[in-house]
């Protein structure tokens, strides 16, 4: 479904991604793990068109989308739930959700808000509340719900557990696994290695802008190279 070929991305003259290649098959949950500054978020940002790669290809459904604008990429069915949640704090929960479905017919999107309420019951009571007044965990749920409002075929999830209390992290991962069971393809960036490997089918390990190794999540779980990639020898 998605394939990155030898992707290079720069911030100014700072190299952030240095020749990354990876694949995501339909229906898979693929995780990218690795320590901070490895280039994981940058990879997602180039898939969703927020950053232009300097070279390499991003192939989605057989076509290169590396030069498409973000609104086209959303229209093609890729939705990106960014690190740090980035919900619109001064808008209400409902308005945030409406914006998530901004490209779809209004009536259809409005019906979907009800579906989302079923998946995220905690948001139901807070529809009229400003997004900025939600707790961190609720904001993360809103961010995921909002990303789902565009009816994506591929969801890019960036650090959904960041800064959340352990109990909330558990809950978020239950939601993610639920989405996977419904057949959604997900590319997950996560620094919480244990949770990521529990949820994922396969995982890529990224270090200083490169994919250093990959494998099935089960086989990676006890792989000493993972701890090594964080702590060194």
């Amino acid at each position: 479904m998605l394939e990155l070929r030898d992707l290079h991305v720069f911030y100014g003259n700072i190299r952030a991604v240095n020749g990354a290649s990876l694949r995501v098959e339909t229906g898979e949950l693929v995780a990218i793990i690795g320590s901070n500054g490895a280039g994981k978020s940058t990879t997602l940002k180039s898939i969703s068109g927020l950053l232009r790669p300097r070279s390499g290809a991003i192939v989605y459904d057989g076509r290169d989308i590396s030069n498409e604008s973000t609104d086209r990429i959303v229209a093609l069915g890729i939705s990106h739930c960014p690190e740090g949640r980035h919900i619109f704090g001064r808008l209400t929960v409902r308005e945030n959700l409406i914006l998530g479905g901004v490209q779809r017919p209004a009536a259809e999107a409005r019906r979907d808000i009800e579906l989302v309420e079923d998946t995220f019951p905690r948001l139901r009571d807070r529809m009229k509340q400003a997004g900025g007044t939600l707790s961190g965990g609720e904001q993360q749920m809103l961010a995921i719900a909002r990303a789902l409002m565009s009816k994506p075929r591929l969801l890019l999830l960036d650090e959904p557990s960041l800064g959340l209390a352990p109990i909330m992290v558990e809950h978020i991962f239950e939601v993610i696994e639920g989405l996977k069971r419904q057949g959604l393809t997900i590319l997950l960036v996560e620094q919480n290695v244990h949770h990521a490997l529990d949820a994922a089918d396969r995982a890529y390990v990224m270090e200083t802008g490169r994919i250093t190794f990959e494998g099935a999540a089960d086989s990676l779980r006890h792989d000493p190279r993972i701890e090594q990639s964080y702590f060194g020898l």
Partner: protein, 269 residues
Amino acid sequence: MASPPAASVAPDPSLLLQVVGLGKHYRGLVALADYSLDLAPRTIHGVIGPNGAGKTTLFNLLSGMVRPSTGAIHLLGVDVTHLSAYRVAQLGIARTFQNIRLFDDMSVLDNVAVAAQRHLPGSLWSAMMSTRAFREREERIRARSAELLDLVGLGDRTDRLARSLPYGDQRRLEIARAVAVGPKVLLLDEPSAGMNPSEAAELNGLIRRLRGDLGITIILVAHDIPLVMNLCDRIQVLNYGVLIADGDPATVRVDPGVISAYLGQAKHA
């Protein structure tokens, strides 16, 4: 939040840097809480922790760029808690930045000279009229700057624009600039980020020389845990803005709390 009682403890002038009960919160969000540190001269001190743990906040507080909500910072017994950032630098706490902040459109030499010049003040009139005294002073500033650039291995590119340097060189230039301030304490924020293994190895040697040859005390924040383990005399670990471990590298390395802070708790089946 009221200042904790700890802040009123009398400063100990024998310590180089003494931090008591330091905290910062933004609208209820705690970035750093009750951080303390007694730093002896000529140590290399490491601070690690996962993303968002409060490491950069700590550096911003120590360098005076962010006002603390609680606590106090004393440098050689002098209270620097509420001084402006440039005063803190003048008194002897210099730093580098996680996302390199050079003076991009100035030459490599000028990047260092701008920090070195403070020790050789001159008059405005002599500068505008370019008197002999002015020219001699400029010569001394340039010589001192070139010396520091040699130290970090950039002696052969003094005339290049800072922005034209490769990433690893930019990091080293930033270190040279901070050293030119003449610091007692040097805060290094992710100095090895974006470096390749051989550059990182050189950096290791450079940091040791800063301490050994120049006698500068260093606080090091890094994600590169091997570097920290290798270099530091003592390591503190932050998570969610709170100190969760404090000790020598061998102890911290096997602390189960530290490992789970990085890798996350294993899920209970």
